[in-house]
Every structure is written in structure tokens, then in C-alpha cells.
């Protein structure tokens, strides 16, 4: 039996290659994700351990505000000069280090040197320790002297002796570049990090806004572990004391959490691709079983048992799964290595070398084989039900009724819908994802039922020509096959449509709010700048107020805080009542007056009542209690804790990050804007925008996010296209005789190709329509579920949906190319010869 199975497997190479390819691509995605994140992870391990290689023990303070990974950056605790002295009593060689994200160098072209995410550290020069080596020049001695790392100097186009502008928590200040440093091993940078090093006092003033250090590096001739224990015992539990190795591992670990999230996202998309692949395999095996009915019946007539029949199909599946997994793993290692190299090149990270993690191997084989076997199970059972007498009958594809299938589909779809609703209400991601998956399966089961009328309707579009009509009829011929092929395409399109619907609705809700409630004419805000809140100098405020046409300017200071131990954001408005008017805030309780010392105004979503006392821990670590004197209604536009000027000293920057500008009715907005921009010359990252620009900017990330989702779903789409090619190729093969007949009675080659193309386009457009319908359904369910979170109206992204439909049609044309050529080449004589 096994040998017979393997022989028949070889006989149907092409078909199996196509379904194997689907598994291969999915497995490649999975193992590639693992290889990529593993390589990047180990590279960062290396980076952190080399940074701390010359450090025996590192002392840090416990974080001032602890924030979980997904909520943002924790606020590091500060070590004071007194802390440093205490450490020095135990280990005299201890050095206080400052290293904080947010030192932005202005390059020789006058522009701020940006990164796409990695930090731009500002700190103090403590000598050639910790692997640092001066490549040229000298160490900074005076307050106006700095050194930068070599990679940054190159990016900024600056050299020793230049006057260089640096933005920190304070607006631009100019320094003399006195030296350029690198790292052991002759490196110009440590990974993608830019570094500016000042003298101690300047680093403290500009980066911390306080006298202190972010860490203390201790070296001695004792063993690191002994030194650590001694320091721990001497310092008490306000400090975190780690050996260099432990500290490196801790840093790498916190970074790994980010990589882990990235890996999960990639695996999620790989899962979608594999899910789509399952449809393709299921379809292929179904068709193969249908085509082999006679062969299978003969085997049954010769005495093969049902178990053997199932076994023979499953063995095929295992063989395909195994081969596809091996190739997919190899391809995944290749793709992962390529992407890791690209990433390393892009970030100037020293790549640690490519390895194949066990997770990649295990997941490749599990996923590849399990998916294939699951997909083949149903056709296998069908194969076992072929009665021996079928060997003697004319093969006719029996039109089995779709009742059972449709009922099952309705139940599964309903269950999926229920799970989605429950998941949204309970905020359970698992229920939501399970529901979406079930909905997809349910709709796939329903689709054969829908296929007939839908395909008939769609086909009308093409019925004006004979090939078009024939193509349409062909696509309606086997509703199951058409449906499952279309369903594969549905998944990808439904996901992008759903995400798009949610995004568009969110954007529109926000715009609607803004249009209705936002009264400020201009807004001064910082450009997107990773890890940094750009600021401007508050001394500019009176001068802004003087600009002709400006009615009022209200500046906002902001930083992280912890309220009763929970992370939150503090804001200080220079004039809260005016802001409340500009954003149309409504009072819920008390008054929205400018808070005095020890007073706070808060939105109604924080669970505070009027007169409550809250304990606030500032980003600088100071604690203070405040009394709630006013409560206003939370909106998309305005919310959070509003303090008085006394909270500014607890903020790290101590400078405004935002301002509302209200113009007089008679003002010339363009002139006012130019004047304000002129005043902000020393804060090049601050922008003056009108309402529309501001909102466009706030929603700009949506487009990028959508693009990423679309790219990552591209593979699922590709697999769906393979499915269409597969179905068409099989159809052409099955209908060789018919095509020969058509050619014999005068159908030309081009017309034959058009016939196949129409068949393909009808299938893919049907799939796209299904996807759009399901996507809109999913999207509106989520929008409905998030109505409380400010999603007020459902807006469908018609333009994008039209685009996806177009993509569906184009995909059909592309998928038809090879099968159509094959059909056109049908040898008339060979096709109709029956001897």
C-alpha cells in the first residue's frame, strides 16, 4: 500500500508542488521569524555585555516610576551626589555616570540628526572606561565642550573644533566639539546608539535637571560577586546592585521583551498565511481524491480497507508536509539571515552570527506536518467512503447537496460572532482571535452556498462575450471548489478591510471631535522624535504673546508621574481656564480654575471624587499630596491630571512641550505663524501647525500601520493566488476535452485564454467581495464594541475597499496567465481523440 501511495504521489507532482509551496511559504515565515529575532537578540546581548565588560559592579536606583513594557518607558531613579559618596566610602574608585536619552545634535546642514527609534544618549565623559576610547581630540574640560561618538560625528558631518548645536531638555545650546570617541574593537558606535558626552555638571543640568547620576560604576580588585554583596549590605534596598554581567543580562532581558512582541506579531501573520495555506491543501487533496475516485474504488474492490484508504491519503500529506517543512526551514533560515543582516547594516549593529534556534526547527516541523495532515483529513475520510462499485460507473461529479455544509457554516459563523462579541466585552484577546478564526471558517463553509448566486451575478458583467459567458459558467460549475479557492483570498482581504475600517472609524471620530470642540487656531508641538519630548524655552512665552494677532498663548508642561502608585501623565497649563475654553471642556464637578499649590483638576475617568487627596510621585522621585478641586469630562482631545505651576519642578525637562495659540478674529494667521516660527528658531523640532495639519499629523501613523499590515498579509495573499492557479490548472486539465471541442468548433486561442481569465477573475472577485463583507463585519463589530472608548461612528474605507476589489481582479488575471496559456495550447486533435 505504501509503495502504491508514493508512486501515485510522484505521478501528480505539479499539483503537489503547488500545495507544498503553500506550506513551505508558511513554514518559511515561521522559522524565519525565529531565526531573525534570535540573531538580533544575541547581537544585542553581545552589545550590552561588551558595554559592561569593564564594569565589575553597577549601582542604580530603583525606578522612580515603574511602567510595564507596553505602557511606555519606566522613569529611571536618580542617584544623588550623596549616594555616590556613600558608594565611594566602600569602593573609592566608584564613578558616577549619567546617560539619558534625548541629546539631539544639530548637523552641519542645520538639521537635527534623527534616528528611527534607537536612543540618542546624553551623558558625562568619565574617561576611557567602560570600553570607550578617544579616537581623536581630547576629553571635555570646560562647560562648553563636548565629545561625540565617531558614528554620530560622521552622520552629523561635524569634526573636532566645530561649533555644534545640541538640543537637550533645554533648547539649543552651542558647544565646541573637542574630541571624537569610539569603542573597543575599533567600533564607531555601539549598535544604533548616538552619544554626546558633556562635563559632569553640564550633563546633570541638561540631561537630568538635577545634581545626580543615573548609575555608579564600581571596579576593584575583589571579585565582582563579593564586591556586589559588600555594596548591597552597605547601601540598603533603595539601590539596585548588580555585577556587570547581571546588569547586561537585565538590560538584554528588557530588550528581549520587545523582540518577543515583535516575534509574536510576525508569528501571528505567519499563522494567517498558514491558515490560508490550509485552504489550498484541503482543496488540492479534495480534487485529487475526486479525480482518483476510480483508482480508489478499484483498490477497494481489490480488498483495501477503509483505514488503508485514509492511511494512503494521510501518508501523502505527511510526505508533502515533511518535504515542505525541510525546504521551508531552509528558506526560513535564509530569509531570517538576510533580514538580520539588513537590520544589522541598517542599525550598525555587530551581528552575532546566524544560528538555527531549536524553536525554529520544532515549530517548522510541527506546523508544516500538522497543518498538512489536518487539511488532508477531510478528503481522506471522503476517499474512504468511495464505494467499490464506483470503479465501474461513469465518473460524474455528484452534486452533493450543500444543506449540511451551509448549516454547519451558519453555526460556526454564529459561534465566531458570539466569541467576538464576548471577547470585546471582556477585553479578551483570545476570545476575539478565536472568534475571528471561527468566523473565517464559518464563512468559508457558507461560501459554496453563496457562490452560486454570487458567481451568477458577477458573471453577468462578463457575459457580453462568448468566452466570458463560458468562463462564468465554468466558475459556477463546482461551487465547493470555487468557494474554497475564493475563501483563501477572503481571509487576507477581510483582515486588511477590518483593520482599515477600525482605523478609519477611529480617525473620523477623532476628527469629528476636533472639528466640533477644538477652538485653538494654532498649535505648537514637537515633531515625532523617538524617546524625546521636544521642548521650547518658556522665556519665549511673553514674546509669543506680543506677536501681532495673537490673543492668547497657553503653554503645556508634561511628564510622567505615579498617582497613588499607578503610572499616569501630569500636565501643567499656564492658563487652565483658557485651555478648557479652547477644547470645550465641560465641568463635571467643582471648578476648572487654575490649580494652586497642592491642587489638581482631573478628568472624570480616573476614579477620583471632588475633595479626594492623591499622592503624586514625580519623575524626579519627589512625593507630594494634592487635593482634587475640579473634575471635567474626558474627551479624545483633553484629559488627564492638570496641575498648577508647583508641579513643574518635579518634571525632568522643566520646559513646555506644547502650546495652544488663540488668534484674534482680525489676525492674519499666516503672518502670526511666521512670527511664531521665527521665535522658535532655537527649538527646530517644534512646529507651528493649524488645526488640520495638527490632526493630520496625529493620524499620520495610521497610514503607516496599515501599510505594514498590508505588507505582512502579502504572503497570505500570495498563497491565495497559488490556490487560484492550482484550481485553474486542475480545471484546465479536467476539461481538456471540452477545450479541444471548443477549439474544434472555432474558438480562437485568445478567446480560450479570455475564457480561463474570466473564470479566474470571477473566483477572485468573489473572494474579494466575501473578504470585504467579512472585513466590514469584523471591523464594525470592533467599532461597536469600542464605542465606549470614543469610537462614535462607523466609517467604511470605501476608497481602500475599492482598491482591494481591484487587487482581487488583478490577482485573478495574474493567476490565470499560466493556466490560460496551457489551455490555449491544447492540442485539438489530442484532446478529442478517444481511441
Amino acid at each position: 500500500m505504501l509503495r502504491a501511495t508514493l508512486k501515485s504521489l510522484l505521478a501528480r507532482k505539479v499539483r503537489l508542488v503547488l500545495s507544498g509551496l503553500a506550506v513551505l511559504l508558511g513554514v518559511m515565515f515561521v522559522s524565519g521569524s525565529f531565526v531573525l529575532t534570535d540573531a538580533i537578540g544575541r547581537s544585542f546581548d553581545n552589545m550590552f555585555s561588551s558595554a559592561l565588560a569593564e564594569t565589575d559592579v553597577l549601582v542604580t536606583a530603583k525606578p522612580a516610576i515603574e511602567v510595564s513594557e507596553m505602557e511606555g518607558e519606566p522613569v529611571p531613579g536618580l542617584l544623588t551626589a550623596a549616594d555616590l559618596r556613600r558608594v565611594q566610602e566602600i569602593a573609592p574608585s566608584a564613578i558616577g555616570e549619567i546617560s539619558v536619552d534625548g541629546a539631539r545634535v544639530i548637523g552641519s546642514d542645520g538639521k537635527v540628526v534623527t534616528t528611527y527609534g534607537p536612543p540618542r544618549m546624553g551623558g558625562n565623559w568619565t574617561g576611557e572606561v567602560g570600553g570607550l576610547r578617544l579616537h581623536e581630540g581630547v576629553a571635555p574640560q570646560k562647560a562648553d565642550e563636548i565629545v561625540v561618538n565617531a558614528a554620530l560625528a560622521k552622520k552629523a558631518g561635524i569634526k573636532v573644533g566645530d561649533q555644534v548645536g545640541v538640543l537637550t531638555t533645554k533648547p539649543k545650546q552651542t558647544f565646541k566639539l573637542v574630541g571624537i570617541f569610539g569603542y573597543e574593537g575599533g567600533l564607531d558606535s555601539r549598535g544604533p546608539v548616538d552619544e554626546v558626552r558633556f562635563t559632569d555638571a553640564v550633563a546633570q543640568e541638561l540631561m537630568l535637571g538635577a545634581e545626580g547620576y543615573t548609575s555608579i560604576t564600581v571596579n576593584s580588585d575583589k571579585s565582582p560577586a563579593a564586591l556586589r554583596d559588600e555594596l548591597k549590605a552597605g547601601l540598603g534596598d533603595r539601590y539596585v546592585v548588580q555585577t556587570g554581567e547581571e546588569a547586561a543580562a537585565a538590560m538584554a532581558n528588557s530588550f528581549k521583551a520587545v523582540l518577543d512582541v515583535m516575534n509574536k506579531i510576525l508569528l501571528g501573520f505567519a499563522g494567517v498565511a498558514l491558515f490560508v495555506g490550509t485552504f489550498l491543501i484541503l482543496n488540492t487533496f479534495s480534487i485529487i481524491v475526486a479525480q482518483r475516485t476510480k483508482e480508489l474504488a478499484l483498490a477497494r474492490a481489490l480488498g483495501a480497507g477503509r483505514g488503508q484508504m485514509i492511511g494512503s491519503v494521510l501518508v501523502e500529506a505527511v510526505v508533502i508536509g515533511l518535504v515542505a517543512s525541510v525546504l521551508g526551514l531552509a528558506a526560513g533560515v535564509g530569509v531570517g539571515a538576510l533580514l538580520a543582516a539588513y537590520f544589522a547594516n541598517f542599525t550598525s549593529l555587530q551581528l552575532a552570527g546566524i544560528a538555527v534556534p531549536a524553536a525554529a526547527v520544532i515549530s517548522a516541523f510541527t506546523v508544516g506536518i500538522v497543518i498538512t495532515v489536518i487539511a488532508a483529513l477531510l478528503p481522506a475520510v471522503r476517499a474512504s467512503r468511495v464505494p467499490p462499485v464506483a470503479a465501474l460507473q461513469e465518473v460524474a461529479t455528484p452534486d452533493r447537496p450543500l444543506t449540511k455544509l451551509t448549516a454547519a457554516g451558519a453555526i460556526v459563523t454564529a459561534a465566531g460572532g458570539g466569541a467576538i462579541a464576548y471577547g470585546l466585552r471582556q477585553q479578551s484577546l483570545w476570545f476575539l482571535m478565536g472568534g475571528v478564526l471561527a468566523a473565517f471558517v464559518g464563512v468559508a463553509l457558507l461560501s459554496p452556498f453563496v457562490a452560486r448566486p454570487a458567481v451568477a451575478m458577477l458573471g453577468r458583467l462578463f457575459s457580453w462575450s462568448v468566452p466570458g459567458k463560458l468562463g462564468r459558467l465554468n466558475s459556477g460549475r463546482n461551487p465547493r471548489r470555487t468557494a474554497i479557492t475564493a475563501a483563501a483570498l477572503m481571509v487576507g482581504i477581510a483582515l486588511v478591510t477590518g483593520v482599515n475600517t477600525i482605523m478609519t472609524s477611529a480617525e473620523r471620530s477623532m476628527r469629528g471631535d476636533v472639528a466640533a470642540t477644538f477652538k485653538a487656531d494654532l498649535v505648537i508641538s514637537g515633531q515625532e522624535s523617538p524617546g524625546v519630548q521636544p521642548t521650547f524655552d518658556p522665556v519665549l512665552l511673553p514674546r509669543m504673546q506680543q506677536v501681532s494677532g495673537v490673543d492668547s498663548v497657553v503653554a503645556t508642561y508634561a511628564d510622567q508621574i505615579a498617582v497613588n502608585g499607578k503610572p499616569a501623565y501630569a500636565q501643567v497649563q499656564t492658563d487652565l481656564p483658557t485651555v478648557a475654553r479652547l477644547v470645550s471642556a465641560t465641568t463635571v464637578a467643582g471648578t476648572i480654575a487654575q490649580p494652586g499649590p497642592g491642587e489638581v483638576v482631573v478628568d472624570d475617568n480616573r476614579g477620583h471624587a471632588l475633595g479626594d487627596t492623591v499622592t503624586v510621585r514625580s519623575a524626579k522621585g519627589t512625593e507630594k499630596t494634592y487635593r482634587v478641586i475640579g473634575i471635567f469630562a474626558d474627551t479624545n482631545l483633553f484629559g488627564g491630571y492638570q496641575f498648577g505651576a508647583d508641579a513643574i519642578e518635579g518634571m525632568r525637562g522643566g520646559q513646555p512641550t506644547f502650546a495652544y495659540v488663540d488668534l484674534a478674529d482680525s489676525a492674519d494667521p499666516a503672518a502670526a505663524r511666521t512670527a511664531l516660527e521665527g521665535l522658535l528658531a532655537d527649538s527646530p523640532e517644534m512646529r507651528v501647525q493649524n488645526q488640520k495639519e495638527y490632526i493630520d499629523n496625529q493620524t499620520g501613523e495610521v497610514a503607516q500601520f496599515l501599510l505594514m499590515v498590508q505588507v505582512l498579509l502579502g504572503l497570505a495573499m500570495l498563497i491565495a493566488v497559488l490556490g487560484v492557479v492550482n484550481t485553474l490548472a486542475l480545471s484546465v486539465l479536467e476539461r481538456t476535452r471540452e477545450i479541444g471541442l471548443l477549439r474544434a468548433i472555432g474558438l480562437g486561442r485568445m478567446a480560450t485564454m479570455r475564457m480561463i481569465t474570466v473564470e479566474a477573475v470571477v473566483i477572485t472577485v468573489f473572494g474579494a467581495l466575501l473578504g470585504l463583507a467579512v472585513g466590514v463585519g469584523l471591523g464594525s463589530a470592533v467599532v461597536e464594541g469600542l464605542a465606549d472608548e470614543g469610537l462614535k461612528e462607523l466609517v467604511l474605507p470605501w476608497q481602500q475597499m475599492g482598491l482591494y476589489l481591484g487587487v482581487g481582479a488583478v490577482v485573478g488575471v495574474l493567476a490565470a496567465i499560466l493556466p490560460a496559456i496551457r489551455a490555449a495550447r491544447t492540442n485539438v486533435l489530442g484532446a478529442i481523440a478517444y481511441e
Partner: protein
């Protein structure tokens, strides 16, 4: 008046070297217009090959083939497609119809493909002659073998081709359905002046023709005008004897 179809010194060779098979050896044939011509011969005699060559389904190795005024030899695929569309009708032994189309749609398909409208009067005549009036809306799977073959005949007739080529049209039918089809073909020749070339190995079928051509070993070896079934059978027997004696000669060598 020129012949409806013509073969001049047609040779057809398959393969090369040791595997070479000569299917036709210098066949000359004129198919008379408005006549029913049957081509007979034992299996492997080249009768089907001859028909395929005449109809432009297969290319000839040497010689020339024409349908009406059109020289078939050397036509491009597009030319051959146009020839099949406009000048030739086909009736095959089976798989004549598209399962997705109704009987009526199958009948008008060649016209639809070439973008022509059926001549209403002629269409009605054809439908009436084949006697399918009440079954036109049915799909092939709902028709019997005989009915399917009648639909195929109607399809070949409705575009009034120069020649209809029928390849064993009754091969898959019981004798009664077969007789229906043959009678129908006969009538379309006698009453409408249609030219038909039919390949068959059935002497009874051949007796419906005006003229029977006998092929053996790739050559035309004989022919009978206005045949009867008995005459055809006798001829076949004599040809068989000839073939057997030729075999003997070969063995003797």
C-alpha cells in the same frame, strides 16, 4: 463546380527512424459538394487521420489539402480557427457538448463564437428536423446519448458549413438511435444539399452514404457509389482477405 474538400497526394508520417509510422501514403480524394461520403477501412488504415487532415485538425507531412476555395495546408492557428469557425462542422463520437450550456446554447455556440446571429428560419428547420423541440432548455446531462448526438448534428448544421466531418457519430449509440442520426444526416444531404464526410467502420452506417471510400494501409484501395450494406460488407471481406494474403507475403519473405 469545385470539390467541397480535396486531398492531393497527401502523406502523413508520425515519428521518425525506427518508430516511424506512415499513416497516409499519397492519398488523392475529391469530396463532392452536396454528397454524403463515407470513409471506411480497418483499424489503423488511416481513415481517421485522413479526416483529421481534411478538416485541418492535423497537419499533413506532404501534399495539399483544401476545403472549398481555402487551402488548408500552411494555415496559421488563427487561419485554422477561422476555417473551423466558418467552413467546417464537426460531429464526434462523444464529448460533443459543453455540459454547462443548454442544448439550445450548444447548438448556437459556433455562431456565437464567430459573432453571427442564427438565421431564424434555418434554425427552426434544423430544430424541427432533429426533433428536439421540447428538450432545448435541457443540459447535456439530462439528455440521452442519442439526443446528445442529435444536438451535435444540429450544431454542425446550423452554421451551414462547407463540409461536416463526422467521426464515428453512431459509434456510442444503440442501433435505433444510430439509425435516427444516420437518417437525419442523410436527409440533410438530400434535402438541404449539405456536404458530409463520415468516418465509420460500420457497413450499415456506410450504406446511408452516396459514396464509400475504402482505405487500407494508408492508401485508397477502392470505392463504391450508392452502396448497400451487403455490397460494403462484401468489399470489406475482400479487403480483409487481401490484407491477410499480404501478411502472408510479408511472413514468407
Amino acid at each position: 463546380m469545385s470539390a467541397a474538400a480535396r486531398a492531393v497526394d497527401v502523406w502523413k508520417v508520425y515519428g521518425s527512424g525506427e518508430a516511424q509510422v506512415i499513416a497516409l501514403r499519397g492519398v488523392n480524394l475529391e469530396v463532392e459538394r452536396g454528397k454524403f461520403t463515407a470513409i471506411m477501412g480497418p483499424s489503423g488504415s488511416g481513415k481517421s487521420t485522413l479526416m483529421h487532415c481534411l478538416a485541418g485538425l492535423d497537419s499533413v507531412t506532404r501534399g495539399e489539402v483544401a476545403v472549398g476555395d481555402t487551402r488548408v495546408t500552411g494555415l496559421s492557428d488563427a487561419g485554422l480557427t477561422r476555417l473551423r469557425r466558418e467552413k467546417v462542422g464537426f460531429i464526434f463520437q462523444q464529448f460533443n457538448l459543453l455540459p454547462t450550456l443548454t442544448a439550445e446554447e450548444n447548438i448556437t455556440l459556433p455562431l456565437a463564437i464567430s459573432g453571427r446571429k442564427p438565421d431564424k428560419a434555418w434554425y427552426d428547420t434544423v430544430i424541427q428536423t432533429v426533433g428536439l423541440g421540447d428538450r432545448l432548455g435541457h443540459r447535456p446531462s439530462q439528455l440521452s446519448g442519442g439526443q446528445q448526438q442529435r444536438v451535435a448534428c444540429a450544431r454542425a448544421l446550423v452554421s451551414r458549413p462547407e463540409v461536416i466531418f463526422a467521426d464515428e457519430p453512431t459509434g456510442n449509440l444503440d442501433s435505433r438511435s444510430g439509425a435516427d442520426i444516420l437518417g437525419f444526416l442523410r436527409r440533410s444531404v438530400s434535402e438541404f444539399g449539405q456536404t458530409i464526410v463520415m468516418v465509420t467502420h460500420d457497413a450499415n452506417a456506410a450504406s446511408y452514404a452516396d459514396r464509400v471510400i475504402f482505405l487500407a494501409d494508408g492508401r485508397i484501395v477502392d470505392e463504391i457509389e450508392n452502396p448497400t450494406a451487403e455490397a460494403v460488407l462484401d468489399k470489406i471481406k475482400s479487403l480483409d482477405t487481401l490484407a491477410v494474403s499480404e501478411d502472408r507475403v510479408e511472413v514468407a519473405e
